[in-house]
Amino acid sequence: MKVMAQMAMVMNLDKCIGCHTCSVTCKQAWTNRSGMEYVWFNNVETRPGLGYPRGYQDQEKWKGGWALNGRGRLTLRAGGRLNKLLNIFSNPKMPALSDYYEPWTYDYETLLSAPAQKNFPVARPHSLISGKPINIEWSANWDDDLGGSMEHATKDLMLKGIEDKVKFEFDQTFMFYLPRICEHCLNPSCAASCPSGAIYKREEDGIVLVDQDKCRGWRMCVTGCPYKKIYFNHKTGKAEKCTFCYPRIEVGIPTVCAETCVGRLRYIGLMLYDADAVLEAASVEDDHDLYEAQRSVFLDPFDPAVMREAERAGIPGDWVDAAQRSPVYALINTYKVALPLHPEYRTMPMVWYIPPLSPVVDVIKDTGHDAEDQDNLFAAIDTLRIPIEYLANLFTAGDPAPVDAVLRRLAAMRSYMRDINLGRDPQERIPAAVGMTEEEMYDMFRLLAIAKYEDRY
């Protein structure tokens, strides 16, 4: 056992309002500078949709992340390091600027400086790359709120296997938001892709960084990252990425995206894991096993053996305390409501998500049925507008069972709490039905709903 510490995040998508405040505060703090105009370390995608850069989840096309080869060994999907070196001067497996978007601005000054003229003045858009007038056709958030859905959302790869079920008709509409930052993976394929050794995980907290002095701009990391969360600064010629706001984390304040999240849906915490177990976990054969495999890598910070090993590994005592208090640990391991994003990429991502509930479909309301009635509770999960399969394609490599289990826990919590809210006797059988005690359910409620600042971070 090699105990290491990892700074991690959980986002509760059930609370995400899609406001993009996180994107803007992050951009303002980190990337509103030349060379990085098109870069959003943090972005928010409407699902179903294509995301940013468009279609990044298409690993057939972009070759990001790891795959298992015929011998059950992990290989970079882009062809391994040898391939990388051979193709170092021409790497075709990278999104083009048009897949991100061509950033622009406007000739605002015209509005004040226009001479007397025939028409009211107007500010026109100009490319921030070429400086020329531009016809705006794509952005980092073009398909926000299902905009252009018939052309874009219909091509969402996460619809795989449920193409017949999702009709893109008005009365069947569903959507939710997926905020994304770098996953700060335990098994980062970006780092493994870098010929210069410029990408590293920080020893003490696992934050993945690009050494700006070392980076030679090969851009293999851009290909290697299946989440497309490494960006090329076209001015400095170096790769840049989300830093988990380490200058803030180091002084004990949360990341910008987390602290400014008005949905209060982000949790940051420390996870202890066994570094020696990572490779094996990332190499399990069945994609559906990856979720549990990654959970098994995490160490119980209350386990005396783990605490002993942590001390031996030089992890300070207050870090072990932090791991014990970690809301991320509670959500992933105690309450089991958080799931990894695309475990099938085998990078062991460390930003996890609580999947969203959604309104029930018309079949329930037409019958005059109350979906909140606890007797209908679990039947209602099957009638939620967001297909479980869609969520499974995002979070569990297509396995609906863990998603279903999470949604049941959330629904059960609401039902359990409604009795308390209405002054009725709480019913033990509700948490029991989802494998929880009343105390656990209440504690989970407090963490998810009351979610005080000091409990989120």
């Binding site: 958030n141 020893e203 602290e259 008005v262 359990y416 709903a449």
Partner: protein, 1241 residues
């Protein structure tokens, strides 16, 4: 699977060569490659990280906020490095909302997070600007007039040729940089000239929503009110004011803070898209669900909030009233007729008018109709029939005696000596009878209106009610009428009734609404039952969030009344976690009393000039001339408006003193004072006489005369022409005199007003001066004659409050105003100073005759007994100021002292005290404290008075003169009220009696407020704010006629319009009224490509707060980069439009040239142009007429609803932003088609 078992396969990389290559990193780096060679860890010596550390470093963090027109009121951290603002992030230091509930941190949204971009952006206005053609004229004229700027201004604006030159150039470039000295001189000279020659009420100011920065609001407002110029309202103008609130509650609007959503057990978001419009509050909703709250979203599209709901109720736009009435039908039947629920009956007996008696009267056809409330004074020898204000005390039957009884708490007890100690909601030993059914003498048919036909015309249903006879009067209760109106049958009553819930033929069954709304009847039945049962189970913890989706309609008051019926009859109003939560445009200037007295200069003179802006622009942008309503479109066929147009009704409302009107008379108000003096008469008598004799007329009766229109408009904190100006193209034509895209034809001779002069041609270019103060270029600045550079929200001091949270916090400068920018406070001081100087030669001291409408919360509200309209013009009564016509008051204005008055607290506060919402305060002690805190003025008109020279001093004055921030005043106010109510109240504030919130306190952290009689909810002991909790818990009456929450409104005009009770009125039929193509019609008449007619809605924008931020590069980058219109893929397919295609929308009011966003989340037949997208960003020339495309309001027009201008009658009396015609904008339709011509700019 278990990975602890020995793996059959050995994990590793794909081959020895790869292993070796990965391994080589060991030699290139100082870090540790993991033993399995996957990854590299690094410790220490991170030179490569320094870039981000440098980037993060900063010199200071300053607390400020955003003075934008939203209700967020979020406290922010503004980061500064090397004297430059770098970025912002939310503060997280709000005091806790409680251990067992979420907190308010963090508050903010992406728009606010993008604000600092403006500071150094190329759209920032750095210097003063004037249109070149005007400033050249001015410089020439000044030379020609011996350097007198006032005469110079006069020589330009009174010369039609010169005036035409600069007015026609408006909006078309040609702004040039000037100096502060010059622009201030121009502006001050224009004000002096206009005051001197035309009168001060030909000047106006518009600045909205004081709560977001009351000091900035007060800067111009205080100056203008001291001069005598009206301030234009905003809440009604924005169509955000729900007139149903004054109608039912006698309150402008009072809503729960978002923290109280947590207390609700059932939450309906009804036309309120919380994540989008209440972004920082939305988490309370998402979190309350986890507490077992059931959440319903009612929305015509799959809106952002639908995602969080348990159910999505999809209904046709504007049909919300039908849905609400059907829910009401189910609740009334199952919980008021089939059974009696004590929780409901007890509540309604005490807190609503359901038990009040209404007299039935025969209509013109001889059939009975609901008439007036039976009041004490009606019944000779009856209870309290001889008491003071007996005509203002409605009656009930007492179940204990079977006799009439008159409850306390009505407006009749609120004023006068006899009511002292009796104005409360105690029932005493009376048990009010809710229904006469069972004790009735008879059952009769009444004729009740319905408007659900496609053309919106009235029809009538005969429905029976139980009655009792009182002499020759037939009376019934409001509940009995309500049951009839809602079609809830009871055995033995005559009339036509629905056969059951499944009868679609008559209101208000679930099946009936299904045909109108598209919502399944079964769903409505269940929701209604759940709603009522939840109220019973939780003692009223059911809440309905309402928003612009339900409120911006022409008939929004009726939509609201139908919805408010649900929250009120079920006892949810006045509860934590219950009742209505109106979230659109509402604000809460928490220190309202201090604000009002300072902003409107009530410390120097009273009354102020306050104007409803909707009526103002209806008249002054000549939009009334395009109205083709006929009387029976308006009066439900009762004939009450026979032969009258809306303009006739408006002028009647003005002359009866119901609603304000500026300019008021066809004579300068200064000259009028001189004329009265010359005639040796007091002004009120003189004005009444002159009006009666016809020598004096109201300006509204001849709006195009050339002397009766406004001449100066100042905008600050406002983008009128890019945002709220409904009928934008009429503003451009008639107010400004520049290009316009409207093609509507004027009303024909038979449609024109009869009591108002009809000029052959409306005036174009009525304004002499449009002044805008802003920090960025907008659709208003480009049209302005003078543009002044404002300090941003990170460059000044001010206050911020909202009703969404209970804290007061502050603006503070992160940097000093850069370039030549100034705060609004400093700008208006500069104008005031120059004005005062120029006034020495031109104005001196003058007397000013002010016509003020009959005010709410004063005895003037008892002007119209029984709401029976008597018009002195028609000889039905005498013109009596303050009774049958406006109050006529006189103010003396020393125009040379305006600056000193503006910057000093005047003597009136100590002399006559302060008055807010009918509660009087003695503030001698407070003014004395302010002398110490702010310092004392030496010499001049304000000698010995406290100073308000700086923005901080003004903020401190507002805080100290308000109960919410000064516990002494709150306690004093409650003690005053206790004398009137005879109930215990002062304890609500006494826990904080010694607390005084200062500006310095708000700089440290957001500060919670004190419970005060300025508002209706109690926050004592750290409670969350919910409206009317004081009324319900402490039996303080509502400010209505009955003192109860009123379902029934018995004013003549309401009865005449068929709106005495909630009734479903569909969206206006624009085909019937104005000849627009019916929705769904395809046509090739509008250009090269096929167009489809669609319902045109302008909801709030995700990427802006009104027009603010829509030009912000971050927001444009996250959205579509310019004006866009959302439409259904079904409609798009019909006319060949694809996502991101350029489209053109055309109706009679104007043209929009934008791009389409096509999505299946939009319903067929409706497009959304998210509102306030300026015409400045990537808007091409239109295909139709080759001119710049319009804004969202280029397709709308002002339409006045007559019962919004009723006044002089209890809660229907006027107050600023309290009641009035709304600038509704939801009922419009347009054609939309794909643009075929090349896109040109």
């Amino acid at each position: 699977m278990s990975i602890s078992e020995p793996a059959a396969r050995r994990s590793g990389f794909d081959g020895p060569l790869a292993d070796a290559l990965v391994g080589t990193r060991r030699f290139f780096t100082r870090g540790d490659v993991s033993d399995d060679k996957r990854t590299l860890s690094l410790e220490g010596g991170r030179g490569g990280d320094s870039f981000y550390r440098d980037r993060w470093s900063h010199d200071k963090v300053v607390r400020s906020t955003h003075g934008v027109n939203c209700t967020g009121s979020c406290s922010w951290k503004v980061y500064v490095k090397d004297g430059i603002i770098t970025w912002e992030a939310q503060q997280t230091d709000y005091p806790s909302a409680g251990a067992d509930r979420p907190d308010y941190e963090p508050r903010g949204c992406p728009r606010g997070a993008a604000f600092s971009w403006y500071t150094y952006s190329p759209t920032r206005i750095r210097y003063p600007y004037v249109r070149a053609v005007l400033v050249e004229l001015f410089r020439e004229a000044k030379k020609a007039h011996g350097g007198d700027p006032v005469l110079a201004w006069g020589s330009i604006v009174e010369d039609p040729v010169k005036a035409d030159r600069y007015k026609k150039a408006r909006g078309k470039g040609g702004l040039v940089r000037s100096t502060w000295d010059e622009v201030v001189e121009i502006v001050a000279a224009a004000h002096v000239w206009t005051t001197k020659v035309h009168g001060p009420d030909r000047i106006a100011g518009f600045s909205p929503i004081p709560a977001m920065s009351p000091v900035s609001y007060a800067s111009g407002a205080r100056f203008l009110e001291l001069v005598g110029a009206p301030m234009l309202s905003f809440y009604d103008w924005y169509a955000d004011l729900p007139n149903a609130s004054p109608q039912m509650f006698g309150d402008q609007t009072d809503v729960p803070e978002s923290g109280d959503w947590w207390d609700a057990a059932y939450l309906i978001m009804w036309g309120s898209n919380v994540p989008l419009t209440r972004t920082p509050d939305a988490h309370w909703m998402t979190e309350a669900r986890y507490r077992g709250q059931k959440v319903i979203a009612v929305a015509p599209d799959y809106a952002e909030n639908v995602k969080f709901a348990d159910e999505w109720v999809t209904l046709g736009p504007g049909t919300d009233g039908a849905l609400a009435m059907a829910m009401g039908h189910v609740i009334l039947k199952e919980f008021f007729v089939d059974q009696q629920v004590p929780f409901f009956t007890d509540y309604n007996k005490q807190y609503t008018d359901l038990s009040n008696l209404v007299v039935l009267v025969p209509g013109p056809d001889g059939v009975l109709r609901p008439g007036k409330y039976l009041v004490a004074g009606d019944v000779e020898g009856g209870p309290k029939s001889d008491s003071e204000n007996a005509m203002w005390k409605p009656a009930v039957f007492d179940a204990r005696t079977g006799e009439l009884a008159v409850l306390g708490g009505s407006i009749g007890d609120r004023f006068g000596d006899e009511g002292l100690g009796k104005w409360n909601l105690e029932l005493g030993d009376v048990d009010p009878v809710l229904t006469l059914f069972g004790t009735h003498d008879d059952a009769v048919e009444v004729s009740l209106p319905r408007f659900d036909a496609a053309d919106g015309k009235v029809a009538h249903e005969p429905r029976g009610v139980p009655v009792r006879r009182l002499g020759d009067r037939l009376v019934t209760t409001v509940l009995d009428l309500l049951l009839a109106q809602y079609g809830v049958a009871r055995d033995g009553l005559p009339g036509a009734w629905p056969t059951g819930y499944d009868d679609p033929s008559v209101p208000a069954t679930p099946a009936w609404q299904e045909e109108l709304t598209g919502v399944p009847a079964a769903q409505v039945e269940r929701l209604a039952r759940e709603w009522a049962q939840n109220a019973i189970d939780t003692d009223g913890r059911g809440m309905i969030l309402l928003g612009a989706g339900t409120n911006h309609w022409f008939h929004s008051d009726q939509i609201y009344r139908a919805i408010l019926l649900l929250t009120t009859i079920t006892g949810c109003q006045g509860r934590n976690g219950g009742g209505w939560a109106h979230y659109v445009g509402q604000e809460k200037i928490r220190p309202i009393m201090g604000f009002q007295h300072m902003a409107f200069a009530l410390d120097w003179q009273r009354p102020p000039r306050h104007m409803n802006q909707t009526a103002y622009w209806y008249v002054h942008t000549s939009q009334y001339r395009y109205d083709t309503f006929s009387a029976d479109d308006l009066d439900a066929g009762t004939g009450i408006f026979a032969g009258k147009s809306v303009m006739d009704l408006l002028s009647q409302s003005v002359r009866l003193g119901w609603t304000p009107s500026y300019p008021t008379f066809d004579r300068s108000s200064l000259d009028l004072a001189d004329d009265a003096a010359a005639a040796g008469m007091e002004a009120p008598a003189y004005v009444a006489q002159e009006l009666k004799e016809g020598r004096l007329r109201f300006a509204v009766e001849d709006p195009e005369s050339g002397t009766n229109h406004p001449r100066i408009l100042s905008l600050w904190r406002s983008n009128l022409l890019g945002s709220s100006a409904k009928g934008n193209e009429y503003f451009l034509r008639h107010l400004l005199g520049t290009d316009s895209a409207a093609t509507a034809v004027e009303a024909g001779p038979e449609q024109r007003p009869t009591s108002v002069e009809w000029a052959d041609k409306a005036l174009d270019g009525k304004l002499d001066l449009l002044l805008t103060i802003d920090f960025r270029m907008t659709s208003s600045t480009i049209f302005s004659d003078v543009v002044l550079p404002a300090a941003t929200w990170y460059e000044k001091h001010d206050l911020s409050t909202t009703d969404m949270h209970p804290f007061i916090h502050s603006f503070n400068p992160a940097i000093n105003p850069p370039w030549q920018t100034k705060s609004d406070w400093e700008t208006w001081k500069a104008i005031a100073k120059k004005f005062s100087e120029l006034a020495v030669d031109h104005l001196g001291t003058r007397k000013d005759v002010i016509a003020k409408p009959l005010w709410h919360d004063t005895p003037e509200a008892m002007a119209t007994v029984h709401g029976e309209v008597k018009d002195w013009r028609a000889g039905e009564c005498e013109p009596v100021p303050g009774k049958t016509m406006p109050v006529i008051a006189v103010a003396e204005r020393d125009y040379t002292q305006i600056y000193d008055k503006m910057t000093t607290i005047g003597p009136l506060l100590e002399k006559v005290g302060m008055l807010t919402k009918g509660v009087a305060y003695d503030v001698k002690r407070e003014v004395e404290i302010l002398r110490g805190r702010n310092g004392v003025r030496r010499g001049g008109v304000g000698d010995g008075q406290p100073k308000v020279e700086t923005d901080i001093q003004m903020a401190d004055a507002m805080l100290h003169l308000a109960g919410v921030s000064n516990g002494h005043l709150a306690t004093q106010g409650f003690e005053f009220l206790e004398k009137r109510t005879g109930t215990r109240l002062a304890d609500l504030a006494s826990e904080h009696e010694g607390k005084q919130i200062t500006f310095a306190d708000t700089q440290v952290a957001p500060v919670p407020v004190i419970t005060s009689p300025e508002w209706s909810g109690s926050e004592s002991g750290g409670r969350r704010y919910a409206p009317f909790t004081i009324n319900i818990e402490r039996h303080k009456p509502f400010h209505t006629l009955t003192g109860r929450q009123q379902f029934y409104v018995d004013h003549d005009w309401f009865l005449g319009m068929g709106e005495a009770l909630p009734v479903y009125r569909p969206p206006l039929n624009m085909t019937h009224l104005f000849g627009e193509a019916p929705v769904g019609e395809l046509s090739d008449k509008h250009g090269q490509s096929l167009s489809v007619s669609v319902r045109y809605l302008t909801p709030h924008n995700k990427w802006s707060i009104h027009s603010e931020y829509q030009d912000n590069l971050f927001m444009l980058s996250l959205s579509r980069g310019g004006q866009s219109v959302w439409m259904s893929n079904v409609d798009a397919d019909k006319v060949g439009i694809k996502d991101n295609d350029w489209i053109e929308m055309v109706n009679r009011n104007g043209v929009v040239a934008a791009r389409a966003i096509v999505s299946h989340r939009m319903p067929e037949g409706t497009v959304y142009m998210h509102h306030a997208q300026d015409r400045l960003i990537d808007v091409p020339l239109t295909e139709r007429d080759g001119k710049r495309g319009g804004i969202h309001n280029s397709l709308t027009r002002i339409l006045l609803k007559p019962n919004h201008i009723v006044g002089g009658y209890a809660q229907l009396s006027y107050f600023f932003n309290y009641i009035g015609p709304i600038g509704n904008n939801r009922d419009e339709v347009t054609t939309i088609r794909k643009r075929t011509a090349k896109v040109e700019y």
